[in-house]
Point group: C2
């Protein structure tokens, strides 16, 4: 099974290639992009141990000069210090404007490598090789790059599109089950906001909580349809002027929960799951969405082994306050993405503070 999805943007277009065994084809695929000879592979130690050798052998065989650097994984390492290490490696290996940084890892590696490539020499080439389900279906597509500020996630960043996204589903075999589920949270998001058929396919599957229980055909559908959804939205609105905001479904409250628990209690996908339950309840409360659809969403979230309640001990007021420091704030108003049916959502800044608090109180455990 192989899928190739085009991301078509005004100034630069690229492909997302999804197929088993793609990792060993990295060098060949990159050769066809007419890049300079020098490549810096950025990875984390665990992923590099599993997949570094195959990736680097493929690049060398295709004629690239390859350097590598590994950085600790995890949201708490998505900092200026890690970025500085990539810059230092770029300098040491004398990367030029025609050179390429390859991100081999999850979303943190992809975001940091993307930002480093956006800002080194005012922008060099960048290739995404995501190794987590979350990065495959979300972070690796669309050109959002960045690092965290001590007081907020992704406050420092840039839009910088990759030259290619190469996805090899085989690498998911070593993904911890909790991280697999985190990826499924974003897939459920696409089902709710964009692709009702994807939602139904997941509803029909008996299991959704780990890779071993998943039909390979469904996995390929999940990857292809999710990447297609993201590519569709990004192609229509690269710089998040309008439509792209719907991709933030579940993220408004999700980000606040991640931030307040210092990225240690829930992972990104779990936070999005909690955020989707909250946004769904808000939509039901505001009579924009029917209760049955919201129950179907929450059932799917539970089938995926994802949380539907707030982590214990979180202060409701603190969550509501945190919403106003989010990037998505406009003229002081908090924007929410709310579903109107399965497969469609709208953006609104008209959610009363009381409704947010009421829904969060219901979700307190």
């Amino acid at each position: 099974m192989e899928s190739v999805i085009g991301v078509n943007l005004p100034q630069e277009s690229y492909e997302i290639a999804i197929a088993s065994g793609n990792l060993a084809k990295l060098g060949d695929r990159m050769m066809s992009l007419n890049l300079g000879k020098k490549v810096l592979v950025v990875s984390n130690p665990v992923i590099f141990q599993y997949y570094g050798e195959v990736a680097i052998a493929s690049l060398k065989e295709a004629g690239f000069e390859v350097a590598q650097i590994t950085l600790p994984a995890g949201e708490s390492y998505k900092t200026h210090d890690s970025l500085q290490k990539i810059y230092d490696a770029a300098l040491e290996n004398r990367l030029e404007r025609s050179s390429t940084m390859v991100a081999l890892g999850g979303g943190v590696i992809g975001d940091m490598t993307g930002f480093a490539s956006a800002t080194w020499l005012r922008g060099i080439n960048f290739v995404q090789v995501p190794t987590t389900l979350l990065a495959m279906v979300d972070a690796s597509i669309g050109g959002k790059t960045g690092v965290n500020h001590p007081q907020g996630k992704n406050l420092i960043g840039a839009f910088h599109q990759p030259r290619e996204v190469l996805i090899d589903p085989e690498v998911l075999k070593t993904l911890p089950v909790r991280e697999f589920r985190a990826g499924i949270a974003e897939v459920i998001k696409y089902g709710i906001i964009w692709d009702a058929e994807l939602f139904s396919q997941m509803e029909r599957s008996q299991y959704l909580d780990c890779l071993d229980n998943l039909d390979l055909g469904l996995l390929q559908e999940i990857l292809t349809r999710s990447c297609q959804a993201k590519a569709d939205v990004v192609s229509k609105d690269e710089k998040e002027a309008g439509l792209r905001a719907i991709l933030n479904y579940g993220h408004t409250i999700g980000h606040a929960v991640e931030s307040l628990t210092e990225y240690r209690v829930v992972n990104h996908g779990e936070a999005v799951a909690i955020g989707m339950v909250a946004a769904g309840e808000i939509a039901v409360t505001l009579q924009m969405w029917d209760k049955l659809a919201s129950e179907r969403q929450n059932a799917l979230i539970q089938k995926a082994g994802l949380p539907t309640a707030l982590p214990p001990g979180l202060d409701i007021e603190a969550i509501v306050d945190a919403l106003s420091t989010d990037k998505k704030v406009k003229a002081g108003k908090v924007r929410f993405v709310l579903p109107t049916q399965i497969g469609a959502a709208i953006v609104t800044d008209q959610v009363p503070r009381d409704v947010i608090k009421q829904v969060l109180q219901q979700m307190s455990s």
Copy 2:
């Protein structure tokens, strides 16, 4: 006298407005750009003392909410630490995606503020109010932003176009004479690579070494023609794929000299002056430019009170080595901009190392 020059780019266009008294019109001009209410003015302490009050009063009168931050001036402060202070001020004042950072200062303030605005929330609005001649005719136009890496100038940066460049020649009255001359170096550059008439106008002026000796009509011509030259080149090649490289005339060796003397011995304009003398000599040696034209260039550089020899004690080998870490290196080859007549230049990577060394030896003091 008032000039308005358009910079026309595929995705975003903007104006450079040049007129005495413009500073007091900052707020009104920005109102017409349809920006959000929040503005962060970034300046250095000296400039802010002279002009901060007028700028801020103008912004407030137009209805903006204004915050301010001052950072030390000078190339050695163009660092990540200064950038972090701008980010912190952005966070503290809760800047949003529709907010604007205003750079009120010279090239260092402009470059850092530009980079901060390029990377805060993945890009917010940015307005340039350059207060040095160098920043007016060069750095403030074209969207190059960045900070220095400890081992090289502008290695970290982004392309981010301002929404407007507002130039008030009045502010040059407080500019130290050495900095005025540094700006004239870039003006001479435009004469050589682009605008023979500008070159002749400066040749005809009896003095060129300080503002007090300058005819006000000539000053307006210098500002307008220089900004027009930069706008022409940038409009044709925003991301420096080709033509824009000619703006680096004098900068190849200039950057190496600045870097090796740790930005403390010569300022940017002086380094460019030295670099233009060197590039001119190289062009003459390679029989691409006639000796007489190069002598006219050097005479103009001297009339402006700018250096034509290397700073004492610089090692020629070290300069040649430093050339290869420059951003402008492509496939290991050093690119030079060489004049072919007054008003025209080409880019080449075919300058033999021996010729570079020979010319630098002639220029050793």
